[in-house]
């Protein structure tokens, strides 16, 4: 344990008893603020570990934290985000640099509304980082950790304040395929039509998908996992996961992120090379954003679906790309990544967000 820990960030595979995990950690560092969440597999400096637990301790002089939790966020996403942000902001230490780290439940709908609640309180004054907790594959439960308490459907926030800056790197490695499509009917992440035609079949036809994908929701899920769509933004394409069969029968697509009506989208593709390059790029971007201050560690929020492209060997190499810089690393596999340094939108899919600490 480092000599002066001020915060412990824990990511734990969901099959472990979370209460036992936090009790064990708290015993080693009594009184130190503890936040975290479940992660399908955890990221350690040695690579991804299934059924593992990873803890990162951050501390030392010139570093302070304020944590908060909001329960039962479903149905009151905006309020939950605002509560956590208000509590963290009101107790934030008066240090030159701040960063609000958030952990949410991946099963909670409308994650962007949680972020809207947070942004409504902190505005552009505090950048955001974090991710949505992921379950064991096939299960329907995640957990979030605040102190020694364990929740589901919660929003956990921690305001990091420091004398040194924080850096955020965000890359995805996906690229456009084919012609753009116009989102002709869409609301709240449900895309009904593209180019005035039913969205799901238009998407599959553009990709030349086998007929099975039009009929079999399970096959569609596997197929769509590595074939997201991109929304055109000023800073490049934002990737949107459409791996959902909520509206399969209706012939619509559903994304966990917003897909603006009237906007252009592209079908996206990635390969092992591009996704791996993005990993190294995100880590380097995060360090570069420190503006020359020496980095001390990295926290990674990496989308679960990227593992689908990379496979087991590729996932290991992805972590190697992030550790090439030679910094301590911990991280999680998310069901949605949070990173806002510019503009109002901070929710991402199929992307890797890296936080560099200095």
């Amino acid at each position: 344990m480092a000599p002066d820990p001020r915060l412990l960030v824990v990511f734990s595979s969901p099959e472990h008893d979370p209460a036992a995990v936090v009790a064990g950690i708290a015993k080693e560092a009594p009184g130190v603020p503890l936040v975290g969440c479940s992660s399908e597999s955890v990221i350690t400096p040695a690579g991804p570990v299934d059924h593992g637990v990873v803890v990162m301790a951050v501390g030392g002089p010139g570093f302070a934290v304020a944590t908060a939790v909001a329960h039962a966020s479903s149905g009151r996403q905006r309020e939950a985000g605002a509560e956590v942000a208000t509590a963290c902001l009101s107790r934030a230490a008066d240090l030159p640099y701040r960063m609000l780290m958030l952990m949410t439940d991946g099963f909670t709908a409308d994650q962007e509304v949680i972020l809207a609640g947070v942004y409504g309180v902190v505005g552009a004054s505090v950048p955001l980082i974090g991710g949505s907790a992921s379950p064991v594959e096939g299960k329907d439960r995640t957990f979030q950790i605040h102190g020694t308490d364990v929740f589901t459907d919660a929003v956990v926030g921690v305001m990091l304040a420091s004398e040194g800056p924080f850096g955020v790197g965000l890359q995805h490695g996906w690229r456009r395929v084919g012609e753009p499509l116009i989102v002709t009917q869409s609301l709240n992440g449900v895309v009904k039509t593209l180019n005035d035609r039913p969205a799901l079949s238009t998407y599959l036809n553009m990709l030349g998908a086998p007929a099975l994908m039009h009929r079999d929701p399970a096959a569609f899920l596997v197929y769509a996992r590595t074939r997201p769509i991109g929304v055109s933004r000023r800073d490049g394409d934002e990737v949107r996961d459409i791996c959902s069969t909520d509206y399969f029968e209706e012939g619509w697509l559903r994304s966990s992120g917003e897909i603006p009506e009237g906007g252009l989208i592209w079908l996206m593709e990635g390969d092992t090379g591009s996704v791996l390059d993005a990993a190294g790029g995100a880590a380097r971007d995060a360090v570069a954003a420190l503006g020359g201050h020496p980095p001390i560690g990295l926290l990674a929020f990496d989308c679960v679906s990227r593992r689908g492209v990379l496979g087991g060997e590729g996932t290991l190499r992805e972590v190697e790309r992030m550790t090439e810089i030679g910094l301590p690393l911990a991280g999680m596999y998310t069901w949605g990544e949070i990173a806002r340094t510019r503009g109002i939108n901070g929710y991402h899919n199929l992307t890797l967000a890296v936080l560099a600490l200095s």
Binding site: T86, L89, A116, Y119, G120, V121, V122, G123, A124, S125, V126, P127, R175, R176, V177, G178, E179, P180, I182, T184, Q185, S186, L187, D196, G208, V231, S232, R233, R234, D235, E258, P260, E261, G262, G263, L264, D271, G273, S274, D277, R342, G343, I344, N345
Partner: protein, 782 residues
Amino acid sequence: MLTSGALSNQRLPEFLAFLAAEKDEACAVRVAVERAASALEAEVAVVREPGRVIGSVGFAVGKVPAVELAEVLAGQRRMLDVPGAGPCHVAVAPLDCYPEGQLIVARSGADEFTVDEVGLLRGMARALELTLGTLRTLAAERRQAIENTRLVATLQQRQRLLEQISDIQRAITRRAPLQQILDAITIGAQKLLGDEVVGLRMRDPDDPNMLLLVSSRGLDPEQRRQVWRVPLAEAGPPGQAMQRDDLVVVQPPAQSGAATPTGAPLVAGMAAPVHENGAVVGSLEVASLATGRPDAVRVYTDADQEILRVFAEHVSLAVTDANTQEAMRQAFHDPLTGLASRRLFMDRLEHALAGVDRSRTRVAVLFVDLDRFKIVNDSLGHAAGDSMLVGVADRLRACLRDGDPQALAGSHSDELHGMAARLGGDEFAVVLAGLADEAPAVRVAERILESLRAPFQIDGKEAFVEASVGIALDTIERCGQTQLRNADLAMYQAKRNGEGRYEIFEPALRMAFLRRLDLEADLRHAVSRAEFLLHFQPIFELESDRLVGVEALLRWQHPHRGLIAPREFIPLAEETGLILPIDIWALTQACAQASAWNRQRGQLPPLTLSVNLSVRQLQRADLPDIVARTLLDTGFAAEQLVLEITESVLLHRTDVILDRLRELKRLRVRLAMDDFGTGYSSLAYLRHLPVDILKIDKSFVDEITSEPEASGLARAIVQLGRTLGLVTVAEGIEALDQRNELREAGCDLGQGFYFAKPLTAAEIEPLLLDHAGFSTAQPPTH
């Protein structure tokens, strides 16, 4: 690069849909600022009026910098400092639902807001005004209902009708057909306001001074027919509303002379302007007729006027949205063929190039240009030409779509990504990404060439076209423009090499192209600087070895490169059209020179003069006039002039060319078919061509003494000439045995180095004026 900004107006329906879901003013304002910031990718959005921030996002709670904001709005500072985001550019739109209200967004980064984005912000402000207006009306009516239960029925009715506005908004959002939306608006306005007649008039696109009735209620078909198109100046309230760009109300009895579109006396009416992107494009009117309510006096309250404004604004939204969507489709797709436009093609290409390093694959561009498409257009008409372009586009799509594994084998990834585009005219392009090497691109090019060779069915007739394809792979600089230009150059080379084929770009092509450009520039100067000169080669009667004529041959005395042979510059001159003045110069000079020689020859038989004519020259309708005038000016006898044409004339519009040749014949000049046997010889055509002389190509003469087959061909041509009653001339005779062989075969005339090489006028003159004639018994001059 396409950005979300390119679609600004497209974002309005979604914005409207979000606002329509809100139940009260505070929520609507909050959603408006969040959505405005999101759509414009801004950190901050604010709704304010002087002295009060009504709603904001992007500042920490309670930290809105009201003073700095006011300074920016007053123009006292350019950028707004937003904590956490730094200096931000600001865009402002007026918001009339608050006194001096404004919708403001602020964004970090170097790029300022574009005109499109400011337009979107204005549209959002207007949508917020409409929504707040509706919500306030609802709220006011609710208050009124509480105060007076008698109004409950009215409220319910009005609420139902206001819900109709939501339906209209949804119809716009859904992108229902424009006519359906406009009809829903006129129906809604009639129900809500209760007037007998509602009309929506829009400017006639063909004549902005006329108005077209695009939707109406309360008019029977005959009435609609009478007023469907009226001059703006005579349209009454609708015309006035458009001219003033404001709502116009006509109340009795002041406008007693006013009449409705039906011609019936008007009791009262009002009209509100309709806008598209800020410009007045039409007017929505309601009218109350004397016949409808003889005793009633219709008075339009402020609420009525506001309702008409709201409906008119919805027309504006629907029209703007429909036109924007159409414009956007057109920007990305070629309207005729539906293929990608140049813009989309370049975007796709640049993206493909951006991934080349990472994927370690190649990107190929195929530049496809139809060969002689102009002939289809000229002979069958532009509609047929368009049909053919559509057919070509379909085949290009099929070439890329058909997953023929053999054709696409060699692509690096599982799928070879291809897209076809129409660049304009008869130019198409294909981009192929994910290639391991050039082989798949070549196979696609071959497929394209093969697929275009099949006949096209146009108006029940078969039409044929071929294409030339240039292939270029990505270069080190990864520049789409360069790659497209390289493919264009390769296509150009393919055309030069014979059309209906493909060529792959090599750097040497560009060098050759640059050299060609230099040569073209020099050639243009050469015309004005008189750098051309004529050489003359004598023509002999083979039977007697008597000199009977000369062929004038053009040479270019380049100031730096020396003497340039015709084969190096004539094709270029033909392509650029410079051949026209050059040929005329040559004809005039040659005739003048030959005329002088014939005068000097005195009693000797006059020399014939052969001059080459390009196909371009033959396409000129005034060629016979030019020749006639030249003969007149130079005094050269028409019957001594031989104009040489090549077989390539048969490739062009034969009927026109034939007419031209016949006109020349009427001048009594003679025509020779040059290089006979090498090109597109067709006996059928030869019979119809009014030629007098066949010139046997040098290639047959070269081998006449060594190759029995060539000898046979040469003899056959001579025989053919005799059969058709034509004089035969052998070109390129270099040896005595060749001359003997040809003489024996019955060939009439000959020329070549055996007799004399082409000479300058001064060099050849002694031979021409030699009264003894020139005989091969004497050693030839070389």
